[in-house]
Amino acid sequence: MPTITIDGKQIEFKQGQTVIEVAYEAGVEIPHFCYHPKLSISGNCRVCLVEIEKMPKLAISCATLAGDGMVVHTNSAKTLEARNAVMEFILINHPLDCPICDEAGECKLQDYAYAHSRGESRFEEIKNRKEKRVQLGPRIKFDGDRCISCSRCIRFSDEIAKSNQLTFTNRGDKVTISTFPGESFDNPYSMNTVDICPVGALTNNDFRFKSRVWEMSFTDSICVGCARGCNTEIGVRNNEILRLTPRQNEEVNSFWMCDNGRLNTFKNVNAEDRIDGTFVRKEGQLQKVNWDEALEVAAKSLKEYKSGEIAFVGSAFATCEDNFVLAKLAKQLNIASVDFARHSVAGDQDDILIREDKTPNTAGAELVFTKTNGAKLEGIFRLIKEGKVKTLFVMEDDLGSINDEWEQALGMLDLLIVTATNSNKTTALADIVFPAASYAEKHGTFVNFQGRVQRIRPAVSLDEMDRALDGMNMSRWDKFGTKFDRWNQGHKYDAKPSWKILAQLSSHLGGKIKYEMAEEVFAEIANSVDAFKGLDYDEIGELGIQLKISEKVEK
């Protein structure tokens, strides 16, 4: 294998790799703005200049192919001098407005200016002014002053989103980014440009000025917008989700996620209609009762029906753990009719990330329900209509919103028990409502359409949890806050993960289902469902693991 020497380190590389790539793999970070591993090389920021022996001039490491025997210095006096000069150039027209810039704290220009710059400006003239607060698209605001013209956003819209909506206009120091005339930067992946913008030129309308990044805690999670299961990071402050950003996973979503997933999958966690506490229908009205009473009422009412009159509906929105415990409780009660609803939007799919299946865990629910052989969802619907099924347990799904017929059918039931995160048509018809933890409040696993099992972790604390004791990620505010601090009084919902509710219901019904942690449930799944054999939470880790179910794998 060919070898290159970077800062005295001998590194083997594959033919065709650039110097910056080889360096990155060896753990040497060469500063860069315009270079992005998933975009074409543009080479216009010039900050990745390195000294290569036997070359007459410094070379930009992003566009220089590594060669056998090359000797590269990334921190020599010559390189540092050049880097400082480039930084000085870039900073000539960059405003010193970090205090009002959303990027501050995660800004590469800020980091590099701190690490590689002279520390003060020699530029005495007036800085160029360009247009500020330009609404490039419905979700993105552009600040011309801050832009360093790296062209990452333009290349992203051309190469990844394939929408060709952005371009440079003007030349020299007047150069700026704009959409083509009459165009709006509105493609479904547009907000990824906010993430890849090395400065704060592109800002997220939704998150703009909501919080400084250092005030939030970040937790690895999975997007629940569709069956892709993009890896995400949840940004939380004061127990409220403020932002979702994609996390790199080359097997699933690379660096990207769609705007819909980014904006619309977390709002229901802190929504007005969140179910907070257990409710039981008394005199026609849902009334708040305590957990013990609700569980007691649920257990007592379930006992009044024969197992043939009861059906259980799981959910592709819930985790494998939730569905597994549901199937187990059904078995305990001898209930054969167990299924879950599919939520597919025909045609809403592309060859980038978005999938037709709008649930995160259809594959997982299928896997844990394989052993059930009673009526499927359509059959359950028919049995309700025929009056044979009188009791339905619905977990984390809004059957009432599928269509009017379903809503009617739910109304015909004698007893409807629901676990749900938010109020919906199904909870409106329910007799007993248990508040379910949302995906951002529990541990669990989802299986995406590729058959890849991935973990979710609690980012928002429930009433029954404690950030420190439950090992959740904490911001500085979380660590030192007391109950007297107004910035530490974010609402904690009185909810539980569905598997926990089901396990408690089981014990009220005289069963033996008992778990303390989601991990224990998963351990049992790993023991009893072939596809999960030998897996545990540590094994799944940050990036998930491909299950051995070859027929499901598609790219």
Partner: protein, 165 residues
């Protein structure tokens, strides 16, 4: 039992005590007749120098808006986590302003870091040292209590410009 040894044996005059008593009375008399340095607080109030670090306040411009751009640096640097800032967008040129700015005076330790870190000279230490609360809630100062017109803070701002580097 051995006699205890004194560090210094008293002289005859000292053993008589009377001259010492007279000396003491003379000192007392002298103090009684010298001018008083006691300040009759609260009737008379202490006017601190410009370098004094009283409660932190927000500078209010002459047009009535706050100078603060809600960057959150004061909040970040505060060792006692006394400051909470919530930014929001404004039509003004500064783009953002503090929708909420609260200082918990029970947490504040008057270190002046917030003033030191402020890029806008928007939060300064005032001369106000009279802080009395009857409950935790009233110790949290919002924008209504924090905003002080820039004219009243001239002393401190001049001091900062002269000595803050």
């Amino acid at each position: 039992m051995a006699e205890k040894k004194r560090l210094k044996n008293l002289t005859f005059l000292e053993k008589m005590y009377i001259p010492e008593i007279v000396k003491g009375l003379a000192l007392t008399l002298k103090q009684m007749l010298s001018p008083s340095v006691t300040m009759q607080y609260p009737e008379v109030k202490f006017e601190p120098p410009a370098s004094y670090r009283g409660r932190p306040v927000l500078v209010q411009e002459t047009n009535g808006t706050e100078r603060c751009v809600a960057c959150g640096l004061c909040s970040r640097v505060c060792p006692a986590l006394a400051i909470e800032v919530q930014a929001a967008e404004t039509e003004l040129e500064k783009e953002r302003y503090p929708q909420k700015f609260e200082i918990n005076m029970l947490r504040c330790i008057f270190c002046g870091f917030c003033e030191e870190v402020c890029p806008e000279e928007a939060i300064v230490m005032s001369k106000d040292y009279e802080l009395v609360f009857q409950n935790r809630e009233s110790a949290i100062y919002g924008k209504d209590k924090l905003l002080v017109p820039v004219d009243e803070l001239k002393d401190r701002i001049d001091f900062l410009r002269k000595f803050k580097k």
